[in-house]
Structure formats: structure tokens, C-alpha cells
């Protein structure tokens, strides 16, 4: 990499290419159908704002979608691994694995109906004698009442009828009409845990990635709201969501995203498999 110093401008395809994170626009699934069943893996990557240092792979996110046309719902299986460390090879790792099963309406926002979420921590240093900090959360939204049970403790609160989660929004955005009038107002439920108000998503037309030799045009959405960096979504011609950028963080469609961590931490692959198997049994 030739450049040094601060990036100077917001993350995008061009800066990610210069940072050698991308060599081309991520390729979607051939013949992708946003209304069908699919599975996406995103590489979670972030920058500290410099060309030459402190840019890390932080983890990965897998979203599997299955449609139920009979009752106009859809099921998601979510797996998210975050390495809460620098991401450097030499680091001892601390990992947070979140697995979730989420049922949503097949509506414009993919509004959550009910879910079960498990959060578990894994430590590379097995000698640590730390207290249990895992969580199991189940939730349901019914008649604008959000009910969440955390390790058996139940809380209820009213919630806006127009609500979605970050994970289901990644699906919903692929079904939105591609026209200037496509705008959504909603309450944003981050990771099915944190509620953020006054969110707004809008279609902003076509944008060129600027990095492919052949001129490409990507559909571009923006999301603004409380408690977040603005989100930018890039979709290809099949409406497959290829990349999401929010401030210094990017989600990049990449089937091999988990390999980075599996190679660095071979034990982790088994731990994750075991956890997913266990949640299948539930």
C-alpha cells in the first residue's frame, strides 16, 4: 500500500480497494432471487482511520433466510462472531458468538414476530477462571408490545408498530422498490436487544463503485437515525446486498469470511459448530 496517514474521506469501494480489502465489487449469488431462500456471509471489517495501521477483521455475520408463503412469514438463522480485540494474529482472542432464530413478517420492514438469541463468550486462554456471562434472550412483538425474557427475567414495553431489526432489514432492503419515493420510517432494534428511535431509510439512486474496470452501477440506500453512524447499503442489479458501510465499519459479502478466524484460531471452529448444533436441538 502506497498511502500513509489518515484516510481523509468516508469508507467506500475505492478506499477499500486501496486498503487491499477488496480487489473488486463483491460478487453476489448467480441468479439471486431476493424473494427466495438464501444465505449470506458478511465479513465485518473496521478501520481506525489510517491507511497503514489499525485496520482489522472484527468478525463475521451469517444470515440464512427461509420464506413461509403459507403464513406470510420468514425465518432467519443468525450467526455472528465478534473478536473483541485488535484482530491481530498475535493476540489472545476473546470472542462473542451470537446465534439467533428469528421469525419475521413478510412485510415491507421484515418486522420481527418472535426470536430466541444466545450470546456466549469464548476465550483463547483456557486458564482464565471467569464467571459465567452467557445470555439467552427470547422475545416477541405482539400488538405493539415488546416482551423480552433474559435468562428467564421478563420485561415488557410498548413499541412502535413500524419496527425492524438490523438483521432482518438486510433482507427487507432487497425487496424495496427501487425508486426515489422508496422511504421507510421505523424503530430500529439493534441485535434484537437495543431500541433506537427515529430511523429513516431512503433510496438514493444508482452509484458507481468506481473500482471495476467495467462500469458498474449499484443501487444505493441511506439510513439515518438515533444512536448510529449513517448506514449506506449497496445492492447489485439482482438486488442482492453486497456491502453495508456504517462510519468506520463495513459488512462485505464474502463466503470465506469465517476462514480468517478458523485459520487463526482452529479451536474456534469446533466451538461454533457445537454451539450451532446445540441450538438446533432446542
Amino acid at each position: 500500500m502506497d498511502k500513509t496517514g489518515i484516510l481523509g474521506s468516508p469508507l467506500g469501494f475505492e478506499s477499500l480497494q486501496e486498503l487491499q480489502i477488496l480487489d473488486q465489487v463483491p460478487r453476489g449469488i448467480k441468479g439471486f432471487n431476493p424473494k427466495g431462500n438464501w444465505s449470506h456471509i458478511y465479513r465485518i471489517w473496521s478501520s481506525y482511520g489510517y491507511w497503514e495501521k489499525n485496520n482489522f477483521d472484527n468478525g463475521w455475520l451469517k444470515i440464512q433466510r427461509e420464506v413461509n408463503l403459507s403464513d406470510a412469514t420468514q425465518d432467519f438463522r443468525i450467526t455472528q462472531l465478534i473478536n473483541n480485540f485488535t484482530g491481530r494474529k498475535s493476540d489472545l482472542g476473546v470472542f462473542n458468538l451470537v446465534t439467533a432464530k428469528l421469525k419475521c413478517h413478510l412485510n415491507e420492514l421484515a418486522t420481527p414476530i418472535q426470536w430466541k438469541l444466545e450470546s456466549q463468550f469464548y476465550y483463547e486462554d483456557k486458564s482464565l477462571n471467569l464467571p459465567e456471562i452467557g445470555l439467552i434472550k427470547t422475545g416477541r412483538i405482539n400488538n405493539s408490545i415488546l416482551s423480552v425474557s433474559t435468562n428467564g427475567k421478563v420485561r415488557e414495553q410498548s413499541i412502535d408498530r413500524n419496527v425492524t431489526s438490523n438483521w432482518s432489514l438486510y433482507e427487507a432492503i432487497q425487496r424495496l422498490p427501487l425508486k426515489d419515493s422508496a422511504k421507510l420510517d421505523f424503530t430500529y432494534m439493534e441485535d434484537l436487544v437495543v431500541i433506537k428511535n427515529d430511523h429513516h431509510l431512503s433510496y438514493q439512486g444508482l452509484r458507481s463503485s468506481g473500482i471495476n474496470e467495467k462500469e458498474d452501477q449499484l443501487h444505493y440506500f441511506q439510513q439515518l437515525g438515533r444512536g448510529v453512524f449513517p448506514f449506506e447499503y449497496y445492492l447489485d442489479g439482482n438486488r442482492e446486498c453486497l456491502m453495508i458501510v456504517t462510519g468506520p465499519r463495513a459488512y462485505i459479502l464474502d463466503d470465506s469470511a469465517s476462514d480468517i478466524f478458523n485459520k487463526r484460531h482452529p479451536w474456534l471452529k469446533d466451538e461454533i459448530s457445537n454451539r450451532i448444533d446445540a441450538s438446533e436441538v432446542d
Binding site: 489518515i6 473496521s46 489499525n54 462473542n96 464467571p131 456471562i133 438515533r226
Partner: protein
């Protein structure tokens, strides 16, 4: 220590209850063998949060429901200052009760001097508390595999509060939901990274913008502060620092300045949400009533005041930090304390006071308990902050500040430029009285206070000579 099993607890409890029932009435005094349960202690730290970023106290540009709730349920100090407006030095004070000159942490990425215990080490040595840490440490590194004196639940991701704070909050929430009521009391430090991510935003938004990247923000951006314009004289050091920050390098327009404020407020909302996740966990655990909750930040953020961003100078936006303290039934509620001068060094003595142990702090630090419980006491009438970190390649930024009831005095070591503001009529620090006739006595008084304070400093043995600064 032997672990208390449920069976053993029940046996002891039943025995104690029987003893109470058979004991003669002793004039309302509890029997000596029934010890009052020690309170848990939860310190939540944010990073780079200016004091005027809480909706409860009047900021209309953002929503902070969890900070608001704990303001209503506790005491919120409006005259709360960092000891040093940069990460590592400020954190060394929050966690030891000592000034950075005493901890040896005069700049970022230094460890606390071995002779000075941090609060985790102190509690482990002097109490039965379990000390737990989650998140950013920054003494020396922001991310570390271990933290002395604490069990580390999870470290932070370097610089990515927007991602890592959720993991830190989840770890804390998980602890609260899994711990047993029969466990020893805890001392937990939850150290969140936000709204510090504004620093990445600076590095990614150097260039001025002629039009908004997000058109829907048009007409919705915060206004510039009334003290946006520069006021002179000020130290050349501050001017040099201003000139190398992204806002100057990018020659920001008003639009960019206002867009920065918009983004910063969103980062504060982000950390409020994660604070909420932690506090919800505490409340769900049933331990809220018996937990001393303290919420503060290491230092502030420029907020476009005096055309400044970031920190490491002594104007109010950089030097002041939120401080909220709450414990139902023990601490007054819904109190907006607008007069008591409090400092980051006061947190450790306060924790020790409520835990019933002596404090490792010294003559400069005070327990906040008399203020929190409205007990009669003589509170300090002046307070000092210092700057000792040379940031952004600007040499010798050493500076000190004296705050008294109405005035604030700032002096920089390199050029000796002094500033004196009457904050009771000039909260924006726009009228420097230092060179005006009629303020000699105030200047002399503040210099004297600084000298007296410096004479009592227990300077760290490893502090470099050029960072010690006596007899201004």
C-alpha cells in the same frame, strides 16, 4: 475464600434468625453480628463525552433516556472536571484517586506507577469484593489480555466502540444475570469506547463538503455554539493544536462543523443505549437497590466551541465531564448539583467510603458521600486540572487550570500565556480577563492556589523532569 453454598447459607441464616428472635430488645440497635450488606459498585465510563450531552440537563439535540433516568434517580454534578483531558492520564486518576502527575501517566499509553495501586488492586487487598473489568483499559494499551487487580470479562476492540461496546455491555449484562445473590459484592468497571469513535470520523471526514452526503439532513443539523468564534489572547500552544486538527486542515465550512456535531450526538446516543443494556441487566438482577452506580467519562470533546474538536486543552467542553451517582434510598435523587467542584480523583475515595475501607487517595481527593447524602461538610473551594500529553506533534503542551467558584484560570508552561474567565457571567470563556486592569488580585489568588496545590503533589518517581512543573 470458601464459596458460600446455598445449603450453607440457609443454615447460617436460620441460625441467625433464631438468635435474633431470642435476643432481648436492645433499644433499636441491630445485633452486632448482623453485618449490613456491603453495596456493590458499578463504575460506567464513557470515552470523550462532553458534559453538555445529556437531554435531562437541557441538550435538545439528542435523546439519552438511560443517562436521564439515572440523573433523575441520583445526583448529577454540573461542575465536574477531568484531571487531565486525555485518555490514559484521566483514566489513571479515575482508577487510583491520584492526579496524573502522581500516577506517572503524563501521556497516553503509559502504565500506572507500580507504587500507586489501582482500585481493583486496592479492593482485592482490603476487602472481599470481586473486582471485574470489561472494555477499554488504556493503561498502557486500550486493549489488553489482562488488567491488574481485576478479572477481565472482555477487552475492547481498539477504537471501535460502534462494534465492541455492544459486546462489553453484553458481558456485563451476562454477569448480572448469572451471578448468585450469595456471591461476594462486586466492584465492576464497565469501560465503553463511545463516543470516542468521533475520532475515526474526523480521520475519514477531513475534506470540507460543499453539499451534504446525506441530503435528508438538510435543515436538521445542530446550530454552531455561541462561542464558536475565537477569543484572544490564548496560548500559542492551543493555536498550534487547533491548526493541525482535521477541522483546520480540512478548512471546514459551517456545514461541515454542524455535520460533525450531528454525528457526535449520534455517538453519544449509541453509548447511552449500551449503558442502558448494562443498567437493565443490573436492574433485572435485583441488585439495583444495593449498588452504587457511578457514570462518568475520561474527558470531554471540543463541540466546536472555540473552533476546537477533540481534547487535550482546558476549555470547558474538553475539561468537563458528566458525573452521575445513584443508589436508591441512600443517595439523593433528581439533584442537579450546580455548585460543587468535583474531580475524577474523587471517585475512588467515594467507592472506598461506601465499601467501608480506607482510600488510597491523598490530600487532593475527597469522597463525594457528603454531597450525595446532603450531609454537612466543608467542600473544596478550588480544583485543578492539568495537561501533559503532547498530541498531534505539538511540543510541550503542559498546562494547568484552577477553577474556583466563579473564575477559571489557565496557564500554559511553554509561553506562560494566562487566561482568566469569570464563568458566572461568561460561561463560554470568550472574555479573557487576565490582561485587563482590575483583575490582578484574582490572578494572584489563583496562582497562589496553584502553587499550594503543587506543593502537596506526590510526584511520581518516574515522571520526566519536563513534565514536572512547580512554581509557575
Amino acid at each position: 475464600m470458601e464459596k458460600m453454598t446455598r445449603k450453607k447459607f440457609l443454615k447460617l441464616s436460620l441460625g441467625a434468625a433464631a438468635a435474633v428472635a431470642s435476643a432481648p430488645y436492645l433499644g433499636g440497635c441491630a445485633p452486632a453480628f448482623i453485618k449490613k450488606k456491603k453495596p456493590n459498585i458499578l463504575l460506567i465510563m464513557t470515552d470523550q463525552q462532553a458534559i453538555d450531552t445529556i437531554s435531562h440537563t437541557g441538550c435538545t439535540e439528542l435523546e439519552t433516556p438511560w443517562l436521564d433516568k439515572y440523573c433523575r434517580e441520583g445526583v448529577h454534578f454540573q461542575e465536574s472536571y477531568t484531571t487531565n483531558p486525555v485518555c490514559s492520564p484521566a483514566r489513571s486518576s479515575l482508577l487510583t484517586g491520584r492526579m496524573p502527575s502522581e500516577t506517572g501517566v503524563h501521556r497516553n499509553t503509559l502504565s500506572i506507577n507500580d507504587a500507586v495501586p489501582n482500585v481493583g488492586q486496592w479492593f482485592r487487598e482490603n476487602s472481599e469484593y470481586r473486582s471485574l473489568y470489561a472494555g477499554k483499559w488504556h493503561l498502557p494499551q486500550s486493549w489488553q489480555p489482562s488488567v491488574p487487580g481485576f478479572d477481565l470479562l472482555t477487552p475492547a476492540i481498539k477504537g471501535q466502540g460502534n462494534l465492541g461496546d455492544a459486546v462489553v455491555a453484553s458481558a456485563c449484562e451476562g454477569y448480572f444475570h448469572n451471578r448468585s445473590k450469595f456471591d461476594n459484592p462486586f466492584l465492576m468497571v464497565a469501560s465503553l469506547f463511545q463516543p470516542h469513535d468521533i475520532c475515526q470520523w474526523f480521520r475519514m471526514n477531513l475534506e470540507d463538503i460543499s453539499e451534504l452526503r446525506y441530503p435528508e439532513l438538510a435543515g436538521k443539523l445542530p446550530e454552531l455554539p455561541s462561542n464558536f468564534q475565537l477569543s484572544y489572547p490564548e496560548s500559542e500552544v492551543v493555536g498550534e493544536l487547533r491548526s493541525v486538527l482535521e477541522s483546520s486542515r480540512g478548512n471546514w465550512s459551517e456545514l461541515q462543523w454542524r455535520y460533525y456535531l450531528y454525528v457526535y450526538y449520534r455517538q453519544v446516543e449509541m453509548v447511552d443505549a449500551e449503558i442502558g443494556r448494562i443498567l437493565q441487566g443490573l436492574e433485572d438482577s435485583g441488585e439495583r437497590e444495593n449498588t452504587l452506580v457511578m457514570i462518568t467519562s475520561d474527558h470531554g470533546e471540543g463541540m466546536a466551541e472555540h473552533q476546537m474538536i477533540r481534547k487535550n486543552y482546558l476549555y470547558e467542553a474538553s475539561a468537563k465531564v458528566p458525573l452521575i451517582v445513584s443508589m436508591p434510598d441512600q443517595i439523593r435523587s433528581d439533584i442537579n448539583d450546580t455548585s460543587s467542584l468535583v474531580s475524577g480523583i474523587d471517585l475512588v475515595p467515594t467507592m472506598c467510603d461506601y465499601a467501608g475501607i480506607t482510600s488510597p487517595g491523598n490530600a487532593h481527593s475527597r469522597s463525594l458521600r457528603p454531597l450525595l447524602e446532603n450531609r454537612e461538610s466543608t467542600w473544596r473551594s478550588s480544583l485543578i486540572s492539568e495537561v501533559s500529553h503532547d498530541s498531534h506533534g505539538v511540543e510541550n503542551q503542559l498546562a494547568r487550570m484552577v477553577r474556583t467558584e466563579n473564575y477559571k484560570y489557565i496557564v500554559n508552561a511553554r509561553d506562560g500565556v494566562e487566561q482568566l474567565f469569570n464563568l458566572s457571567i461568561d460561561a463560554g470563556e470568550t472574555d479573557n480577563l487576565a490582561l485587563k486592569a482590575g483583575y490582578r488580585s484574582q490572578l494572584a489568588e489563583h496562582k497562589k492556589l496553584l502553587n499550594e496545590w503543587e506543593s502537596k503533589l506526590e510526584i511520581a518517581s518516574d515522571l520526566p523532569e519536563n513534565k514536572t512543573w512547580k512554581n509557575v
